[in-house]
Every structure is written in structure tokens, then in C-alpha cells.
Point group: C2
Chain length 506, copies 2
């Protein structure tokens, strides 16, 4: 769910030419001695870090296929203990198990960390390298590791563990305590993640944390980083018109000459779909859908505007192969809409004959695969009931709603300690950054940001990767360009962030 937002990042960063750092903190809070010690340990650990990541990539946990769920959780557990966690406990759920790790440094500040150990499906024949071997490839002045999960999310997660391990191996005290929650169902909608965060020990530990982070490696080619102060929620839903189940349409494919006598489920579906968005093809028109949509504040809009860099629009158009934006808007307006507007998206249409040419038939069943992106203060648990009521009111009681993963949006204050610490750490590392009010993509962070946990949440990291969910997924290991962080620098940055957080007032 999260990973594909890399495409979205392309809008703002992929070929941006400059970056505005909005915070210029003092020198980093990391003692010089610790920096030298940790840096040396991380460098010495470089080859082992690659081996550990390769071992992880070699064990793909794919929840959609119920593949390696227990094995993936057990490896996650071993990796945490190996990196220096005091405890790591497997938490069974109704689906893939979770893992909960604690590392008590006796520090006054506790940081929560979110991990996913699952990965997306893959088709090996579409890859130029074996997807489970983590081979290194040189290209464009970069050494990258190719493998499923490389960037989404094993690479950045493994590198955070490398940083934590360096504290252990050098006997350097960690500046913060860490509680880590890992799940194995992120790619299928985190259906049972609430059972993990709802575990009494986990819930109590999260209550003590100042915030939660997800390790990422999302530097643009200019080296810049965006800090997202939230993310849209998402609901995956299929609408189905089934002539057999509804009793209205034909119970099997029939000859199209009967179109004047027998109802066509494909027309039922089209007529129902048509009511979900306005005639413009993008404004949601589901009854009550916009009731709880909170407009962006002036400050949020200003953040978006300040993040637009020269060349970004042209680069985005080229990447997406579009000539313009929805409603013919300028780039600024389109980015505001991207952050602010809930969406009703058709991902796919499938019904009846789908081969070449035609078949003079009426289908018995037609399906639309939809997703809805949700913004504050829309409620995830109202999505299906509002949709059902909307359809029923218009007579579409025969249209079935089949639900997939559904979760709400997140929002984090820019004043949160983890955000300020991240800004300080980035400034200290000479990494330019911008603040962005909302990621248009989604992740199950609401389990942290919503009550009862109510933590701020932010993505933390430097480095790069790409092709998440796609063939040849990659993660940056080393780069000639000093603006792009290889894994050693990425690991050291995580350490810098932990120091910055320890030195930031909650």
C-alpha cells in the first residue's frame, strides 16, 4: 500500500533541481566520539549488513499467498534479538503473526518503530535479476541491490537495525529506548494489525513513546527529502453486479440478441458507478462523502507551495506520461487537490467477454475494482455504510459491495518532537528537506495516530530505492554522488536521528 507512493514522490522530487531546507538547526546532538565510533563500526559491518539483507530478501513473506507467515515472523524475531533488542515476542493474530521488540536503554525518551516484514507478490520472469537473491548491480553511478522488498521495506528497516547493532557492538548507550511493532500483512491492508497494537504489553509500551517512525529511503535525485505530516487513508472495495446472485440478470452468459428482454449486469454496474463521481469524472459524489472532509489550512497550503521546485512539474508529466492535470489546473492547484481531495478510483473493470474483438454476448457478471482515498476527518468505518446507503437510495440494492483493506488517514503536527528531531537531523546531515502536509498514498499508521495510542508518526530516513511492487525493485547501497546516501551513511543518519530525538523536548 505504502510502497507505490514512490511514484507519487516522483511528482515532487524525482528530477527536482533544488531543495529548500525549512529548518537550520544547530550542530547535531550526536557527540563527536560516538559519531566516530559508530561510523567505524557501521563501515566494518558493511558486508555483513548486505548479507543480512540478502538473507531477509531470500525469505519472502507474502500474505496474499499465505506464504512464509510464521517463518517471516520468526526471522524478524531473530533479527531484532541479533541487532540488540532485549526481547522480541511473536504475537499471533487471526492472520500473519506480529512481532514486538523492546530495547530498554534506560533513557528518558522512548521511540516506537513500525516494521512490515511482508512483501508484494512477484513474477520472476519479469525481472532482470533473480528476485530473491539480492544481487548487486552497478548503474548510473549507483550500486543497488535488486530484490523483492529491497526498498519496500526490508532495505531501510535492515539499515535501521544495522544502526542499532552498532550501538551494541561498540558498547555505545542508545540515546532512546525503542519499542518496535512489526506486522506481516501490510501489503494486504493490515487487516489484523489492530490485534498487534491492541496487545496489552504493546499498547502500554506505545503509550510511553513520543512518536512512531517508519524507516524509509526516499531521497530525490537532488538529495532532498520530504517530510510528510500525514497520509491519506484507503478503502479497497469491489462492486459486483451478478445476474445469478441478484436474480435480475441472466444466470449465465447469453446471446446479445436478448438485450431487449434480459437485464444486462454490465449496464447495472455502469449506471451504479456513474453515480459515484460527478460528471467531471473525479469529484466524489457519494452521499455524505465530503461531510467530514476538513479543508487544508492556510499553513498546509503554504507548505505545499513552498515545496514546489523548478522542473518538478515537467518531470512529473514526463514520468506519468500526461499532458496536464485534472480540471486543467496548474501544478500548484493540482498538488493542493492531490493532498486535500478524497478520491473514488476505478482500478479495474472486468465483465463478460474480454478477448479480442467482440462476442455478441451479455455477461452474467460485471465487477469494478475501486479504491477510495480518505482524508481527515473522514471515518474509515463509515465508508461501506455510506456507499451502501448511496447505492440503495438509487435502487442499486442488487449491486454487491466486497471489501478489502480499509483504514483511515493519519495526521501529525509539525511541532511533534519526532518531526522537529527529524528536521534537526536532516539539517545536521546537510540533507535539504521540505515539509508536506499529506502523502496521497496510505499506510496503516492510523493504528498509532488514532486513539487510544494517539502518537505522532513520521517516515524517517535518507537513501534511495525504487520499483516497489514492480520488477527489479532496488535499494541504494552506494552512490558516486555524495548527495545520495549509501547504506553506511543511511545507518549513521538513523543514529543521528536518535540523538536528535533524545535532545528534543517532547
Amino acid at each position: 500500500m505504502l510502497s507505490k507512493t514512490l511514484v507519487f514522490l516522483g511528482l515532487g522530487l524525482a528530477s527536482a533541481t533544488s531543495c529548500v531546507a525549512t529548518a537550520h538547526a544547530a550542530a547535531p546532538a550526536m557527540p563527536a566520539e560516538a559519531r566516530a565510533t559508530l561510523s567505524e563500526a557501521i563501515a566494518a559491518d558493511h558486508d555483513q549488513a548486505l548479507s543480512r539483507l540478502r538473507e531477509w530478501i531470500a525469505l519472502p513473506s507474502i500474505n496474499a499467498e499465505k506464504l512464509n507467515r510464521q517463518e517471516g515472523a520468526e526471522l524478524m524475531q531473530r533479527m531484532l534479538l541479533d541487532a540488540g533488542f532485549d526481547t522480541a515476542r511473536i504475537i499471533p493474530t487471526d492472520g500473519a503473526p506480529g512481532v514486538f521488540g523492546r530495547l530498554d536503554a534506560g533513557a528518558p525518551t522512548t521511540l516506537a518503530v513500525y516494521f512490515m516484514y511482508d512483501v508484494k507478490q512477484f513474477e520472476a520472469h519479469e525481472w532482470s535479476q533473480p528476485p530473491l537473491e539480492g544481487r548487486l548491480v552497478e548503474r548510473d553511478g549507483k550500486t543497488v541491490m535488486i530484490g523483492r522488498g529491497a526498498i519496500n521495506q526490508k532495505g531501510p528497516e535492515a539499515t535501521l537495525l544495522t544502526a542499532i547493532r552498532a550501538f551494541k557492538t561498540t558498547g555505545t548507550p542508545l540515546p532512546v529506548n525503542i519499542v518496535l511493532v512489526a506486522e506481516g500483512e501490510e501489503e494486504t491492508g493490515s487487516e489484523n494489525f489492530g490485534q498487534i497494537t491492541g496487545d496489552p504489553e504493546v499498547a502500554k509500551a506505545l503509550a510511553d513513546a513520543v512518536g512512531v517512525i517508519l524507516p524509509v529511503a526516499w531521497q530525490g535525485n537532488d538529495g532532498g527529502v520530504e517530510i510528510y505530516l500525514g497520509a491519506k487513508g484507503v478503502a479497497e472495495v469491489q462492486l459486483v453486479a451478478d445476474g445469478a446472485k441478484s436474480g435480475r440478470g441472466p444466470g449465465m452468459e447469453i446471446h446479445s440478441s436478448l438485450g431487449a428482454s434480459v437485464e444486462n449486469p454490465a449496464w447495472r454496474l455502469v449506471k451504479a458507478l456513474d453515480t459515484l463521481v460527478a460528471d467531471d469524472g473525479y469529484t466524489p459524489a457519494i452521499d455524505g462523502w465530503m461531510d467530514d472532509v476538513r479543508p487544508l489550512s492556510d499553513e498546509q497550503i503554504a507548505l505545499i507551495e513552498s515545496g514546489i521546485r523548478p522542473g518538478a512539474e515537467a518531470a512529473a508529466k514526463k514520468e506519468l506520461k500526461v499532458q496536464g492535470w485534472i480540471a486543467g489546473e496548474d501544478y500548484r492547484s493540482s498538488l493542493v487537490r492531490l493532498a486535500s481531495q478524497p478520491t473514488v478510483t476505478i482500478q479495474g473493470l472486468v465483465g463478460g467477454y474480454t478477448g479480442p474483438g467482440g462476442k455478441t454476448s451479455i455477461p452474467s457478471r460485471a465487477e469494478a475494482k475501486l479504491d477510495f482515498r480518505l482524508v481527515p476527518d473522514m471515518q474509515a468505518d463509515e465508508v461501506v455504510s455510506k456507499l451502501r446507503a448511496h447505492l440503495d437510495k438509487r435502487g442499486f440494492t442488487d449491486i454487491q459491495i466486497v471489501t478489502g483493506g480499509i483504514y483511515g488517514p493519519t495526521e501529525t503536527s509539525r511541532d511533534a518532537a519526532i518531526v522537529r528531531a527529524l528536521e534537526k537531523a536532516l539539517a545536521g546531515a546537510d540533507v535539504p528537506h521540505t515539509l508536506t502536509p499529506r502523502l496521497a498514498g496510505s499506510w496503516p499508521g492510523y493504528r498509532f495516530t488514532d486513539p487510544p495510542v494517539s502518537l505522532p508518526a513520521v517516515f524517517v530516513g535518507i537513501g534511495q530505492g525504487g520499483q516497489a511492487h514492480a520488477p527489479d525493485e532496488w535499494y541504494l547501497i552506494d552512490a558516486e554522488d555524495p548527495k545520495l546516501a549509501g547504506i553506511d551513511r543511511q545507518a549513521l543518519f538513523f543514529a543521528e536521528f536518535l540523538y536528535a530525538l533524545a535532545n528534543t523536548k517532547p
Copy 2:
């Protein structure tokens, strides 16, 4: 195109319990001696007739795959000559060749016959018997031949040739002259059929004919036959929203989080489709679509009403697995609508992700496969221009129209000699029949019924078959039930029809 109308026949006949014969002619015009002679010859030829049909089935001409086009035409040519035609000439076209056969009996009356030598595609693994071997299978008191083309249309056509052969082998003078036009593109929309009927010799020969027949074997299980006084036309069209080609949508599949910024071709398609029919989901709403629709006459409606037999509605509902008819109408109204209303049918929808669950993506392309059924006096050559104008007027200039086979409706007077002759022949054979104003299915008969040829056209035959276009296509060879005609009786019936026609005033 035509073949699937067997499903439609199910509406009226499949399990009907009685049949009303609307004409009770005197004894058949066939001399008793000729009947005895021909009957004996046909019976003696029975096994050879099966062999000839098997040989034909073993050579499938499939125009969509450009398979056996020349070979199929050459076999057709040999079969005509072998059956007794004086001449049979292959007529090249831009597609599959046609075949034109003449049999001059020196009779005052000339009958035109339409043949198709092509068949629909097949998937051998879906069949219980090899689709090209013409094996005989016993079931439900029937001996049937299984094979692609068995009922659609090689079986009935071969049986007509068996009848003609019997005249030759017995030295019995044919009561009418025959001109036969065969094409190999019926299943793909008869794109080049006009090049065959437009051949000067063919055109001249057709001008001398009193009408054209297509051999069929469409008896219901009660033995009854429907005489169709016309057929709807058809236009196969695909509507395509392609983000790359239009430049509006994404040029490739992109992440669905971008739904608020980048136009979704699937929504363009749905919004365009929605305008094509009224909110009821079946009334055509394309600008000017209904302008030339001629309502059924009172006589035509009366014909439909008189053709409704007890049990037919229940049988049709069971066969189609529906609980009711469009608009909640009664069966009579639905049959009137079936005959009278042009249709706008979605055959298939395909776009974006079509696998299990969802994929959080926006497609680059979406397509709807449509067909339109046309009634008199709609003009086939106006279909695309009206559709284009309708879409353009509403701003859907980006929606592409891809056309397949398109041809207009046919209509034949119940007073035509071939219709009266058929009624006489059926009455003489004790086969009950009803007259039906219009088949909801389509065949390229407009090439005969439209100017300059302007011939009446009718489907002629008794016997049975099923599963046209589907696996295990079958054709009735013999039946225990005397109401159902095996191939020998079918062949004799063709002879009876020829005599009846010779004795019917034009």
C-alpha cells in the same frame, strides 16, 4: 452471429407444449412417385451423408484466425459440384473467398440459397468429444453428431445438398433452379460479402430469384418451427479510453494515490458509456438513434401474441436463469420489446487490474465491447457517425470507436412466395409453425433483402441442433420422437419445400 440465436429460440420453443399451425394447406405439391423415389435415395445415401458432413467438419474455416479460407472455399466448390450443381465458381474477395453455384433445371422458378462455410473458434479441451471428428453420440432418445459447425451451419447445409443430390442420383427433375451464394466470413461480420453478391454474374442471377433461403434445423422439442419474417441488424463496436493515445490520462498504469491529479481513463469510459442508454439501463439514448425506428404494425404484434404458447415463459426463465423481464414486463410485452427495440449492449468491460482483489492502481486504458441491434428502418451506415456525433457533443472526443462487423436488419413480407411455400411445406409435413415478425438475432441477409437485390429471405428447415458457438455443438441425426426430424426426413423436407415453391404463385 446467427447461430447464437438458438438461445433466443429457447424463449419461444425450447419447452413449449403445443404449437399453432397458422396455415393448413392442401396436400403437398410433391408427386407421390417423386416422394417415394427421393425418399428411398435419401435413405440409401444416409451413411454417405454422414461421411460427407464429417469431412466438412474436419476442415474448419475460421476467418478470425485466417484458417482454411482457400481450402474451405475449395471444399465448398467440390461439394456443390458433387451434389449436382452445374457450375461452382470461387469468387475472390479482400478476405475469405466466396463460392457461387448454379443449378439450372429449366424450371420457371429460381431459388437463391445462402451458405456460410466458416465456423466459430473452438477450444478442444472444453469438448467432451473431439470437435473435428463428427462423432455420433446417443442421448435423450436422440442420435446427434458432435462437431464444430454441426448445427451452425454445416449440418443443415449438407442436408440440403443431400436432397439436391437425390434429385441427381434418381434422375428426378428439380422443380426449381438454384443459385447458391456461399461466404466464409459469417462469423466475423460478413465484411466482404458485398463483393460476392456484387459480382456481376451473381447479381444477375439473384435478380431472377423469387427469394433466398438459409437452411436451418430449429425445431423445438415439441416439433414446432418458427418462421421469421426478418431479423435485426447488428453493429459490433468497441469504445476505448486510452490515456496514452488521448494524452489526457496516464500513459501507463500508475499508483491510485494519484487519482486526485491524473485523469482516469476508466472513469472517462464509464461517463461516456452512461450517456448511451437511459437510466433504466436498456433504452438507447444515443442522439438520433430512434429516429428511423419503425414501430411494429398491429399485424406484427398480433403475430407475436399468437406465437406465445403455454409454458414458454417458464421455460425461457429457467433456461436464461432470470426471475423476470426488463422493466418488469409481462412475457407478451417483453417479446414485443425483443422484436421491436434496438439495443445497446455491453458485451464486456476490460480495463486495468482484473485479477483477484485490488491493486491500488489507475489504468492507462479501458475498453467496453458493445453491440447494437438494429431494427427497420435504421441505417447500418449511420451507426458510427451517430455514435461519434453523440460522444463528441458531450465532450468525449477522446473516446475511440473501433468497429467490427456492421450490417442492417432484414424484413420479408408474409406474402412472399418463399414464405407461403414454406407454410405449405410445413403443413404438408405435419410440422406446426408460427410466424414471428422478427428474429432478435442477426445475419447478413440485408445483402439480399436490401436494394439492388431486394429479395425476400427466410430460414427453411426442420430438424434440431444446439450449442452453436459453444462446446459440444450438435446436430440431430435421428430421433425416437417422431415429431423431431432426423437427417433423412430433413432432406426430404427440403425437397418438399422446393416442390411447394414451384407450385406457389410468385
